[in-house]
Amino acid sequence: MSYLPKPKFRHPGLPKNKLGYTRRDYEGTVSTLCAGCGHDSISAAIIQACYELDLEPHRLAKLSGIGCSSKTPTYFLGQSHGFNSVHGRMPSVLTGANLANRDLIYLGVSGDGDSASIGLGQFAHAIRRGVDMVYVVENNGVYGLTKGQFSATADAGSKSKWGADNNDSPIDMVALALQLGATYVARSFSGDKQQLVPLIKGALGHRGAAFIDCISPCVAFNNHPGSTKSFDYVREHNEAVNALDYMPVRSEITADYPEGAHEQVTQHDGSVLNLYKLAADYDVHDRIAAMTYLQKKNAEGEIATGLLYLDPSPKDLHAHLQTVEAPLNHLTDADLIPGAAALEKFNAARR
């Protein structure tokens, strides 16, 4: 952390987006996390993504649980809605908020402790219900706030900062999300904003359960030799299956890529994802093949990153429940109390 607030001075040439905001207008207060924390890079990527999407800050709600990762919503989008919930309970609060007002964009920020341990059940159900949200797990493999014990995502055989071996099997959040029916699944690395920013933009444009597992080295407790979530290890074993270029609306492709290596996917909101294949034969639409591929890479000790699975026309929770279109607080007495005649008609249909 710093004792200073970040100076208000900005680069005189700092560009503005369509709303007239600079990137810095999407910042929050200065981070109190440890210097060099990967989570701060993810915050910066979220800021960059929202800036580039010309997102009106009041259109977004950020929700989190407890932990280092769950502190970060304070450090970005200072003008957006926020809810810092109980440990592991962010998915429930987010689901409720989404049901009450589907007009907002929901960004759930969680960590490997918050989502893979205490909140694993909550995570599973929010995903399987297809809540329209972006769910980001800032995954560092340790409990940083309590000085570096292994978390549930720590790889078996990895070493703690103090030299202890981890003997437990890890929970693979991406595998879970795929299995539970998330319709936009990605993995990335806090140290690679070129990959991360478009993935966040694509997820924000996705109208279903979007999940991003972002490996985020804990500089204080998990950035040593023997760790599988350190800057060096992740850089060495990172195998991106594709590169993503996000375009808000369909437009001419100008980049020159070899035939067959490029795919264009239009999402429900009209945004276009340009995918450049890096791993041959990887099919981003084949869920079962993706699961197999990821397990295979995992066994080889490699970390597959990129957009791993995409269903461009997902159905979300509102579609399943056939809920009303308008946010609940927009419903008037006339909508909520249709009167005796309507009740009679309803009851008649039940007889």
Partner: protein, 596 residues
């Protein structure tokens, strides 16, 4: 791009824009911090060592530092560096004990100095403590040169001149031969001087030879001569209607002085446009504040007189146009000529050097403009033991340039008389000190103020226009001065990058308030500048480039608008960034400037 060699003192010196722009390279941020700490005497001495006349310059300097100030690129206006210098001078108290001890043991060498202006006095200040015996000649009755004769008292009180000239003349071993004009360099060369320094200024005001000049001569005055006569009390009034010709700082001094000596309708008339005038913007502002109109695009045609009695002047109206080659020229508009009535005219259209007293057969070479050939580094003329400095060297400049020349000439004289090669110039002294005190604590104040530039209070016009000796500017008081110091970005506290410690976590990139830092693939400078986080379009500012990092990338930092806030170093988990103060001080004459 090649990795930056930060061991070259010039690299970080250039980052301290104010210091780099100052001809004498005064360590500006250092003295501003001392002022903020209330250590006015120490702040004064940092200045005194470097620019010799802090109290004088704090009122009159041309301030090349201020247009260069980084704050001006970050926000609207630079730090009021010049007026902070005055704060140090105003509140310093007694600095007598901090001055070099007088009467240094003599080294047996004797130096003659022609002119007692800022250049010569700087040479004296540098050489006398080393044991040189200095003899200063000047035709004026008091030492100070143009500082005393040309700058009006309402800008610079006489006590300030007396005090700061006194610090030099009190050093002992200085022989002042005042009221003593040197008429022959040949004769001086024949005396037993080991070296001669010419700091005689640019003493001749340019005249305007147009019809009526001779006939109406009684009421037409050359600006600098007139100012000098006012300064020494020979003139104390002027006509009711005055025209001042010229757009430089001398013209501004002439019109403001006229206003105080009985000139009720004072008009400045300039050939060029307002923007192109040579006067500093603040001097123009001061004149306008006193109700003096500045009329532009008027070329003088004739002095109108009635049997030698000046009645007015006629002017031709012109406009600025570009010729085929794109050069600006003034073209008559064809409109009827403009007549301005007046009782007196002050001609302040430029100054020239004059060396009638240097014989042309003594081996000194002159260029085709009649200026002596002087080496711009060593200040040496073609007669090895004769040196030049100030306006006498390369034509009219300003006080701070004269001081810089004086330092250079003193180094040359000292090296020459110690049998050394003059062309080998001493490198600056550099002191490097990390400012780290704790995890987030620095020994400099990195919490910079967002406030706008403070205005120096003025005494009210009713008082100042009545008496030419009443100073117009009141100077900052301690409170305003402190507020202004807090605007300084501490550009001398440098961001120093240690490649071997960097883990490329991006923390510095994310926190930097002004997007200075990028980790990217190396490339040619022009191309690289274009693809930084925030493109580095100000090419006058360097890029700080690291060696190749683990991922094959480099760190590129654009120095242009770095706030020196230290947040990159605070957010760095490994200490790869550190804030280090690079105190760069020019080496002056003495043991340190010599090779052995």
């Amino acid at each position: 791009m090649q990795a930056t060699d930060i061991k070259q003192p010039d690299y970080f010196h250039k980052v301290v824009d104010c210091q780099w722009a100052c001809p004498a390279h005064t360590p500006v941020p250092e003295y501003i911090r001392l002022i903020a700490a209330g250590r006015y005497a120490d702040a004064y001495m940092v200045n005194w060592k470097s620019n010799v006349f802090p109290g004088i310059l704090g009122r009159t300097c041309d301030r090349p530092c201020e247009p260069a100030c980084r704050r001006g690129r970050v926000e609207a206006e630079p730090v009021a560096i010049c007026r902070l210098k005055r704060v140090a001078a105003d509140f310093k108290g007694d600095v007598g004990g901090l001055m070099p001890a007088p009467n240094a043991p003599k080294n047996g060498k004797k130096v003659a100095l022609i002119g007692a202006g800022p250049a010569s006095l700087t040479v004296v200040r540098d050489l006398v403590p080393l044991g040189y015996h200095c003899v200063v000649y000047d035709s004026d009755p008091k030492a100070g040169g143009m500082i005393r004769s040309q700058i009006p008292r309402f800008r610079l009180p006489e006590e300030v001149i007396d005090e700061e000239v006194g610090y030099i003349t009190d050093l002992g071993n200085v022989e002042l031969k005042l009221g003593n004009r040197v008429d022959s360099l040949k004769a001086l060369l024949a005396e037993d001087y080991d070296a001669i320094f010419v700091g005689s200024g640019a003493p001749r005001g340019r005249d305007l030879e147009i019809p009526g000049r001779q006939e109406a001569a009684k009421n037409i005055h050359i600006g600098i001569d007139w100012l000098s006569n006012v300064s020494f009390g020979h003139i104390d009034k002027i006509g009711r209607r005055v025209i001042v010709l010229g757009g430089g700082n001398t013209a501004m001094d002439c019109c403001r002085s006229s206003k105080r000596l009985g000139g009720e309708e004072v008009t400045v008339v300039v050939r060029s446009g307002f923007e192109e005038m040579k006067a500093s913007p603040w001097e123009k502002e001061d004149a306008q504040h006193e109700g003096i109109p500045i009329k532009n695009f008027l070329v003088p045609k004739a002095f109108i007189h009635d049997n030698g009695k000046l009645k007015g002047m006629s002017f031709e109206k012109v406009a600025a146009k570009k010729d085929e080659k794109g050069r600006r020229e003034l073209v008559p508009t064809g409109e009827p000529e403009v007549i301005i009535e007046c009782d007196d005219v002050l001609v302040a259209i430029g100054q020239e050097n004059a060396f009638p007293w240097i014989e042309r057969d003594i081996g000194m070479e002159f260029d085709r403009w009649g200026m002596p050939k002087v080496d711009p580094k060593t200040m040496q003329s073609t007669i090895p033991k004769v040196f030049f400095g100030g306006d006498a060297a390369f034509g009219p400049k300003n006080i701070i340039w004269a001081v810089a020349h004086g330092h250079d000439a003193a180094i040359s004289i000292d090296k020459m008389l110690n049998g050394e090669d003059l062309s080998v110039r001493p490198p600056p002294g550099v002191t490097v000190a990390s400012q780290k005190m704790g995890i987030h604590e620095w020994s400099y104040d990195n919490d910079i103020s967002a406030a706008l530039r403070n205005k120096v209070p003025w005494r009210d016009l009713g008082t100042t226009l009545k008496d030419i000796k009443v100073e117009v500017e009141l100077g900052f008081d301690a409170k305003l001065g402190y507020a202004e110091t807090q605007r300084c970005l501490n550009c001398d506290v440098q961001t120093v990058f240690a490649r071997n410690l960097c883990i490329e976590c991006d923390a510095c990139v994310d926190i930097c308030p002004v997007d200075c830092i990028t980790f990217t693939a190396n490339g040619e400078e022009d191309e690289l500048r274009g693809r930084l986080t925030q493109p580095a379009m100000n090419k006058t500012q360097d890029l700080y480039i690291s060696d190749v990092l683990k991922t094959g990338r480099i760190m590129a930092k654009d120095e242009d608008v770095c706030l020196h806030c230290g947040l990159c170093a605070e957010r760095c988990p490994t200490g790869a960034w550190d804030m280090q103060k690079f105190l760069i001080e020019m080496t002056h004459a003495g043991a340190a400037c010599r090779s052995r």
